[in-house]
Amino acid sequence: MGLTAAEKIFEAHTVEGTPRAGQFVTARVDRVLLNDVSGPVAFRQMRAMGAERVADPSRVVLVNDHFVPPKDVASAANLTVMRQFAREQGIEHFYDFTEGGIEHTLLPERGLVAPGELIAGGDSHTCTYGAFAALGTGLGSTDMAALLALGELWFQVPHTLRYDVVGSKRPFVSGKDLILYLIGRFGVDGATYMCMEFAGDGMAQFNMDERMAICNMAVEAGAKTCIVEPDEVTRRWASGMAFNRPVREVRSDPDAEFAARHTVKLDELVPLVACPHSPGNVRPVEEVRGVRVHQVYIGNCSNGTLTDLRQAAQVVRGKRVAKGVRAIVVPATQAIYRQAMAEGLLAVLMEAGFIVSAPTCGACFGGHMGVLDRGEVAVATTNRNFRGRMGHPESQVYLANAYVAAAAAIAGELVAPQAVAA
């Protein structure tokens, strides 16, 4: 019997146990990622464990991205704790909010994620790294504290759900629609504890940015982790990164045992939205046409990439945001921000009436920079629309790709993007 990609990656990192699906192992991870929400709690727990020093500072990455720029004194204090910890522990990979951006977009940009690696993060969207044929998994602060102290931790090796993606996608369909389609079809706990694996010729139509959007929301199906089988797109990206460490292309064996296997026909996908209050409440945008919108938010760790900004600019070029709609764009990192300026994308968006925010997790999780009032409706390219996620418990969030979000800004209501972009 062959092995899955997840089993092989765990095998390469296991220090104790049998790395087969369902088994418990102790594994060493390549990266230990913390942000200004999970970090301060993890540092406290690490000290409670009796550890003074982190096991391997070179593997630790600290990113100030959630409450940035700080919204109040309490958030500022957490950023201070992050800076102090980085200094005391000699952590080279520390990114303050003027130097980096949103963690899951930033790490791959800075070459801190390579194919075949195992990444643990104090953030549920750590599964994003599947886009780069790496395994990323989200953990709470106490698990992360153990990783800081020991460099290794127990994991249950996941079973794999395999998706063979075939066919050609239609205009205005993006990676977001592939993952929303699967969450809608299999449910928000349809992949609990599993690895979602994407392969097949159809995947070549999704660039690395769109693959991030796909993998980012695997956790919204309950998944532990996610992986896109490495292909020519992965190889081109990896060669551009010029890694100075070995790049391991790991793929499932032809006779690997999958918990289930599904074929996804891209030709059947249309632009989708996840309606309030669940990422699993998915419908074609055409079916909810006409829902009035107060705010449009294009950003976050799933869809704040250059590809998203290009898609949004394509829709809004030469048009105006509808009266009564506030449109906010949040480039995910400083590098994306600069590139979007160089390409003229920010000018297009601002001329249409968007405002541009500094990179931040911001309003996606109801932190700040665009929180919703009672009764308000937002269309957001983010990953969660739980009750109260972006503000008041009686606000509503529709999740969508950047074309759909941009079209809603122009129309003032949910609408198929082709109706606006034409």
């Binding site: 418990f24 929400v37 999970s38 301060p40 709690v41 406290r44 727990q45 409670a48 464990m49 009796g50 550890a51 959630h66 409450f67 919204k71 109040d72 309490a74 958030s75 204090a77 957490n78 993060g121 104090g122 953030d123 549920s124 989200g138 953990l139 709470g140 602060s141 106490t142 698990d143 504290a145 153990a146 102290a149 020991l150 127990w154 249950q156 928000v188 706990d189 609990t192 504890y193 309950g222 532990k224 669940s278 999780f365 109801g366 932190g367 700040h368 929180v371 969660r384 739980f386 009750r387 109260g388 996620r389 418990p393």
Partner: protein, 168 residues
């Protein structure tokens, strides 16, 4: 270990954003977080909850964010255990790590109503609701050891002490 307490019943897919909303994540003091526990779905909950009470829920309890603050908020209220039909993965780990018993018992979770008393026997793997005894899914040995040992902190403490002894 046997726990007995009054039930607060919740539905399916109770996410960590409603257990403790994002704006409060600048703080990590359990007493502070407790005041806002379940604010997104039941703002009155912190006033009704008493130490020793048990949260009972449907499928996929704790779905969403990795915020350990969700467990801290429940612990801050003195919630003794969570019984559910199923749990989301990260919340489940966080709870075990902080010594909060999370019991997967689908039939018991469906049977229990708000205000009922439940009796959880962690050793025998049962949950009793109104005199009816239901099975609970057994913990894998490692998790049982972590939970009964008071969570991951003492576990890592012991490992570090052992390592420094063998190095010394």
């Amino acid at each position: 270990m046997v726990l007995e307490g009054r039930v607060h019943k919740f539905g399916d897919h109770i996410d960590t954003d409603v257990i403790i909303p994002g704006p409060y994540l600048t703080q990590s003091d359990p007493a502070f977080l407790a005041q806002h526990c379940m604010e997104g779905i039941d703002p009155d909950f912190p006033r009704r909850a008493r130490p020793g009470d048990v949260v009972v829920a449907g499928r996929d309890f704790g779905t969403g964010s990795s915020r350990e603050h969700a467990v801290l908020a429940l612990k801050g209220l003195g919630i003794a255990a969570v019984v559910a039909e199923s749990f989301a993965r990260i919340f489940y780990r966080n709870a075990i790590n902080l010594g909060l018993p999370v019991v997967t018992a689908p039939e018991a979770a469906r049977a229990a109503r708000d205000g009922d008393r439940v009796r959880i026997d962690l050793d025998r793997g049962t949950v009793e609701v109104n005199g009816q005894v239901f099975p609970a899914a057994p913990f894998p040995p490692l998790l049982q050891q972590l939970l009964l040992g008071g969570g991951l902190v003492p576990f890592v403490q012991a490992r570090l002490r052992q390592a420094s002894r063998s190095a010394g």
